[in-house]
Symmetry: C2
DNA sequence: ATATCATATGAACAGATATTCATACGATAG
DNA sequence: CTATCGTATGAATATCTGTTCATATGATAT
């Protein structure tokens, strides 16, 4: 076998391209970071939460506003806000009986914006 | 009741802030777009797929390379590549028996980059 | 204090999803 | 053309996730 070829290491019954694999391994972020990253995107991967985030693009809203606006139950909205809070995507303030939610920073806009660009090109 | 107050419309037993809700409703993207957007992020919301994408950041790889690199079975990788292909996040070319995958465009990098920035600040 | 409003929370259920196993397909070498 | 390698696919299973229902909490007004 020609040693100049990349195929050197065994992978079950297959051969891997060893040098490339090693290079990639060195550059890969830690597993935990990649896991956290997936968890973050999981939050964006639900249309209810996306709707809530988009609604908050425009204005600060209370739970009932969002429920009415999006045609959802108060409970469903509340559960999803919990997820968004846990991931620091929204912040909130109390005003009497109402709790007003808003976007916590501009990363949300950036991330959603990039996603929008991608689907526009599909 | 003071008409200068925002609370005008009924929502079950609650009142919504009508003017704000209407403003937001006008600005909201179509439901279908938001659904597609959620579907896109759902693709990023899995650590196996994130790992595959990050691996492809660095180099073009065949299925077996990825399986070995990431400690996954060939089948698992193949199933996830199917999802990534369906969402136009990766492209591929055949070279003999191997099929080499690579990132299809720079949106992937942008989206992952924004996500990374967010989790760094948590 | 008590009733009511706005929101949160816990349990239960239904639907979605990732992995595995078995197998099929397409390309190549002999 | 047959065997083998690399990859893809379908079915089955276990886990995860979102919604609903019932109920709890926290704030306000009377």
């Amino acid at each position: 076998m020609n040693m100049a070829e990349k195929d050197t290491e065994h992978c079950e019954y297959m051969y891997v391209h060893e040098d490339v694999v090693k290079k990639v391994m060195d550059e890969m972020p830690q597993d935990e970071v990649l896991y956290d990253l997936a968890e973050l995107f999981k939050v964006f991967g639900d249309s209810t939460r996306i709707k809530i985030l988009y609604a908050l693009f425009e204005a600060e809203l209370c739970v009932c506003d969002m429920a009415q606006l999006l045609g959802l139950t108060q409970t469903a909205v509340s559960h999803q806000l919990r997820v968004l809070k846990a991931n620091k995507l929204v912040k909130f303030r109390r005003e009497g009986k109402n709790i007003f939610y808003s976007l916590s920073d501009d990363h949300v806009r950036s991330i959603l914006g990039q996603g929008m660009e991608h689907i526009r090109e599909l």
